[in-house]
């Protein structure tokens, strides 16, 4: 795995939550290649959220290197990390992805507001948002609806469109399908894969649901890449 083929590399990472229930996560080695679709499987409490926060740079590891697209985000300032996240990573959460009071269009365009290079990659944002909605199988009139009025399945697709716009190199999805029923899950994943391939984006998805495994290029078990310690004082 050379540097130019990997989009994400974690090496000797150790992170420690301080507090009454201290929790330590260490990741000796984990990397994702460009264009790959990776499923990170793990039960709740396995440190998935901490790992994602580390990758997104909202928390900083005490040890080791978190490299995203060739940049060690531990070396960046808080402001630079925010900027970096905006530019490099599209995020999809489990639920409540959207600003419910804003229109679907405003929700999709939101990351462009904070990411200059992603904005430059999209010459006509409104048209792009419509196109993404269309490709993700959303009805065309939905774009001006308030996000809160959409069904959960539709909201997740809007979140996918928001993650995809401006072609960030890495998309991280945190249990994006767990709020969906089985049939919708598959449709959503298929659309997400199609789109991330089409936009030449790497997809790292975190889930506890092993049934989704065969859809991905690679499946990594959380317990294989990370170990965590809990101690209650």
């Amino acid at each position: 795995m050379s540097k130019d083929t990997s989009i994400l590399t974690l090496k000797d990472v150790r992170y420690r939550w301080s507090g009454r229930a201290s929790f330590e996560l260490s990741v000796p080695q984990f990397s994702v290649n460009r264009g790959e679709t990776v499923l990170l499987l793990g039960e709740s409490g396995s440190g998935k959220s901490t790992l994602l926060s580390l990758i997104c740079g909202t928390i900083i590891a005490q040890n080791g290197i978190v490299d995203v697209g060739g940049t060690d985000i531990g070396a960046l300032s808080a402001r630079e990390r925010d900027q970096f996240r905006a530019e490099q990573i599209g995020l999809i959460f489990q639920q409540f992805n959207l600003l419910p009071y804003a229109t679907v269009l405003d929700n999709i365009l939101l990351p462009l507001r904070f990411a200059k290079s992603r904005r430059q990659a999209v010459p006509s944002p409104n048209a792009m948002a419509s196109q993404l909605c269309d490709e993700l199988g959303l009805p065309s009139d939905v774009i001006h609806a308030r996000a809160g009025t959409l069904s959960v399945g539709q909201q997740q697709r809007v979140a996918a469109a928001r993650a995809l716009i401006g072609n960030p190199p890495l998309i991280i999805a945190d249990e994006p399908t767990s709020a969906l029923d089985a049939a919708t899950q598959l449709t959503f994943l298929k659309l997400l894969f199609d789109q991330s391939r089409q936009h030449d984006t790497t997809l790292l998805m975190v889930s506890h649901d092993a049934r989704l495994a065969d859809q991905f290029d690679r499946v990594v078990k959380m317990s294989d890449v990370a170990e965590n310690k809990r101690e209650t004082t």
């Binding site: 909202t58 402001r79 900027q83 905006a86 600003l99 009071y101 365009l109 990351p111 904070f114």
Partner: protein
């Protein structure tokens, strides 16, 4: 876009936001309303009398003399004898002099005896003269000219009879000598609006059968006999004086104040108005203070609202953070939101003020003789509005800083 999102977020919390905005709007309206009343009162106060150099009356306080002679509030403790009046009138400095005789009333309005010179000499609002709306000045002994409010309140028209009551709140009427309305004055916004004006002789005429405040038993002098009597008064309440040259004012004032025949007092209306305003001014300051505190309370209320909304909005902030928004953006979003609320509140308050003015203007005018002009916001009012918006933004910094801390701690992973 951020403005649109902030606006959308506000709309989504319409009820609490509306309450906050209404609180701000009411407080702003109250504050501006108090300001309006204050400046209106001050202006209308200073405008009550102009062109008169001195007011002369029996010796009392200058404020008291001003109150009863001009504002028709309270009573004269003493009268000014006709001889003293003549002495003053004959002095070389005096250009003109108008006697005023008070003490009787018609319904809730004061009756003032004077001469026809009053209509020429009494000036208000920097030199404006009284003008007749209908009819003419008194030509007969029992003619009366009434102020605009008197006519409006009592529904009088030219030719209507008026019976003057003795004293101010009394059941004894001068009903054997009814007056006839000969003229109605245009509205002035001064106490003249609320005055029934008769001739000085008429005041004497209706008191022919009276002695020391009571009717002489069984005595009724017929009107035609009264008309033939000498109706020169023995005393008047006060006199308005104009001097020939401005530099003579103080000399004349001193001369009157040192008049040996009778203790008299001459005051400069402008100075007395100032003095009176200083007394009223304390209440004015208190009023501003209270209404200022109401504005502060409303802003603190807004701060509390923003605080209590923070928890339910952690998700919203996490989304912004996930999209790469710096914590600073979250702070500015909250401040923007507060400024927006304050701005809407301030504008709504301004609108409320004008609606209130529009509704209250005739009522306030009628009840207090206070004319509140409806005009474009002054610079001062404009700055008050700007100040409220800025204060709203500053106040919101407190919850915004908390939101900043929360969003730094939460990152983008909020489990709710």
């Amino acid at each position: 876009m951020m403005l649109r999102l902030a606006y959308g977020s506000l709309i989504a919390r319409a009820l609490t936001v509306a309450m906050t905005i209404i609180a701000i709007a009411l407080s702003v309206a109250l504050f501006l309303g108090v300001e309006k009343v204050r400046t209106g009162a001050k202006a209308s106060f200073a405008d009550t009398i102009s062109g008169t150099d001195l007011i002369v009356g029996a010796r009392s306080g200058s404020v008291q003399l001003l109150l009863y002679s001009v504002f028709r509030i309270g009573n004269a403790t003493n009268n000014l004898t006709w001889e003293s009046y003549q002495d003053i009138a004959n002095r070389s400095e005096v250009d003109w002099i108008v006697p005023i005789s008070l003490g009787d009333s018609h319904r809730q309005f004061r009756v003032m005896g004077t001469t026809s010179a009053f209509f020429e000499r009494y000036k208000y609002r920097s030199g404006q003269s009284l003008t007749m709306k209908e009819g003419a000045a008194m030509s007969d002994l029992f003619d009366t000219v009434i102020g605009a409010d008197v006519a409006a309140t009592l529904g009088y028209e030219i030719g209507d009879p008026i019976v003057v009551a003795h004293g101010l709140a009394s059941f004894s009427n001068h009903d054997d000598q009814p007056f006839r309305v000969s003229g109605i004055l245009e509205k002035t916004g001064t106490p003249v609006d609320r005055t029934v004006i008769v001739s000085l002789q008429a005041i004497e005429a209706i008191h022919v059968d009276w002695q020391t405040g009571a009717r002489i038993q069984g005595q009724t002098t017929p009107v035609d006999v009264i008309r033939k009597m000498d109706l020169t008064p023995t005393a008047i309440t006060a006199a308005l004086v104009g001097v020939k040259g401005r530099f003579q004012i103080f000399g004349l004032q001193r001369a009157i104040n040192e008049y040996t025949e009778e203790p008299l007092l001459a005051i400069l209306p402008g100075v007395a108005l100032q003095e009176l305003w200083q007394i009223v001014g304390i209440a004015e300051t208190a009023l501003i203070g209270v209404s200022g505190m109401v504005v502060v309370t409303a802003l603190i209320g807004m701060m509390a609202t923003i605080f209590s909304s923070l928890n339910e909005r952690r998700r919203e902030m996490a989304i912004y953070r996930a999209m790469g928004a710096k914590p600073r953006v979250i702070v500015s979003l909250l401040v923007l939101e507060a400024a927006l609320m304050a701005a809407i509140g301030a504008l709504l308050g301004l609108a409320l003020l004008y609606i209130g003015l529009w509704l209250a203007q005739p009522l306030v005018d009628q009840a207090f003789g206070l004319w509140l002009p409806i005009e474009a916001p002054s610079m001062r009012e404009f700055w008050v509005l700007i100040g409220v918006i800025i204060a709203g933004a500053i106040v919101s910094m407190v919850p915004a800083i908390r939101a900043y801390r929360m969003s730094v701690a939460d990152g983008m992973m909020v489990r709710i």
